[in-house]
């Protein structure tokens, strides 16, 4: 008897189970469509993930486009980040930066999941990517380049022999695949953080990579040289979830153009690329 009376009578337990199920349903419903609709129509129709804030996703670090910088307002500086800061200022928004993996960014997953308003991560606009992401107007023309040890005697891609390092899934890789002479073995690495030590350890004999990144290497170690630059007619764009942020996309394009017109763009550009040879 005693044991029975101390237990909650079953209608009470059933009630708590029903309550639990109802709460689950409610939460799921909110997470689904209800929550999204509430943010719609606010902040001048920009449909921001967080009101009053421009949330930007980027794969950091990738100097000189995005690096950690305690002195910067958002905690990050670099070409992409400075442009983003300027656009946020012009939209009267606070800039908030989130470091994500390039995979998650490229797959559209972080943008689709509503983690960020847009991606700014030195991303080249390609037709394949444009099928699943919306891109802003081009904001940077990327040149590819070949970095080799100064002592190697290599003067161009045509005279290159051995293993050539490229970054996984980049336009540099695509360019190398098309243009490297026969007999050159392409080795791909997840990021520049592996390409560089691989070159220093002579696992590979050269790096085909975006020019600013290679220039950065020459600056830190003059025993390497950029021997050739390649015009690939490709440009970087800011990425948006496909078809979901037309107003923000238009606003970003509008301010990019305004920045080019009033010279702000050039100021930022010179901050990072004027010294390159």
């Amino acid at each position: 008897m005693n044991r029975r009376t101390t237990r909650t009578p079953w209608p009470g337990r059933l009630a708590s189970i029903v309550a639990l199920a109802a709460t689950t349903a409610l939460l799921a419903a909110c997470g689904g469509s209800g929550g999204e609709d509430e943010t719609d129509g606010e902040a001048a129709g920009l449909e921001l993930v967080t009101e009053g804030t421009l949330t930007v996703c980027s794969d950091i670090p990738y100097p000189p486009f995005e690096v950690e910088d305690a002195s910067a307002e958002s905690g990050y500086s670099g070409f992409d980040m400075d442009i983003m800061q300027e656009i946020a200022d012009r939209l009267e928004l606070t800039l908030s930066v989130q470091d994500v993996s390039f995979d998650a960014l490229q797959s559209g997953a972080v943008l689709g999941a509503g983690q960020c308003d847009l991606g700014a991560s030195a991303m080249t606009i390609t037709p394949e990517r444009a099928e699943n992401l919306d891109f802003s107007d081009p904001y940077y023309d990327s040149l590819q380049s070949l970095l080799v040890p100064a002592a190697s005697g290599v003067t161009s891609l045509a005279t290159f022999t051995g293993a050539l390092g490229v970054q996984q899934g980049t336009t540099g890789q695509a360019f190398a695949e098309e243009n490297a002479p026969d007999g050159v073995q392409l080795v791909e690495f997840p990021s520049d953080g592996e390409l560089w030590p691989a070159l220093q350890g002579d696992t590979i004999q050269g790096i085909l990579q975006d020019l600013p990144v290679n220039v950065e290497h020459v600056r830190t170690d003059s025993s390497y040289v950029v021997v050739e630059e390649f015009q690939t007619d490709e440009s970087y764009g800011f990425a948006f979830a496909k078809g979901e942020r037309p107003n923000l996309l238009a606003a970003v394009n509008e301010h990019l153009q305004a920045m080019r017109d009033d010279g702000t763009y050039e100021t930022i550009y010179d901050r990072y690329f004027s010294t390159e040879g």
Partner: protein
Amino acid sequence: MRLRRTTRRRLVRGALYAAFVAALIVVVLAADWQRFAQYFLQWDIAREQFPEIITIALKNTLVFTVVSFVGGLLVGTLMALMKLSSIRPYRWFATAYIELFRGLPALLTIFAFAYMLPIAFGVKLPFAPVGAGLLGLIVVAGAYMAEVIRAGIQAVPKGQTEASRSLGMSPLKTTFFVILPQGLRIIIPPLTNEFVLLLKDTSLLFIAGSTIFTKELTTFARDATTTNSNGTVLVMAAMLYLLVTIPLTRVVAYLERRMARAR
């Protein structure tokens, strides 16, 4: 109203089942499957991955796993025997080895073999960079397996050693023909576990660099994600991993049951 205890129990259980099913239905209904499919399930992207995702990616993953498993088993056995040895420097070496490589993340170990070794000593490992990456995996697997194998050897009753020694077998013969076979049989479950862990750890080889022909499943999927700006191939890779690991563990469980009966 008083209900009988069995009735009440049945009702409570029924309610619990109902709550579970309701929660499941809610989750399924609440998900935006169309959006999910847009980002992770695009059939034409999926179709483009064949046959390479099998003939290159899955094949490499399996080859790398088997190579590092066999290598790890050899290294592990050697280390286990050294750790049980009566010669002190051997014990010291084995202990240091195990503590070092069990304590370091596999990713860092692979990184060390792929980059630090060539830079520090100018050594170029064969089949670099995959060879260097595999060596890193073997070294890590060996450290884990050494402890498992040691436990297996110690689980063989002492009487087995005494019996074979008294039959006139040498200590070496005793170890290799009497103790090790019995010890290995005891540790089949943890070894299977190690195999599955290694299968997933091959995804760390990306850090060592890869060519079109040496991509394993995860690198392949990440590349395809980058090219297509879509996560479909990541989902495909996940399913392929499960396609290998789940049947494998089922088969081993079956073998274990059979062996238990045979004994």
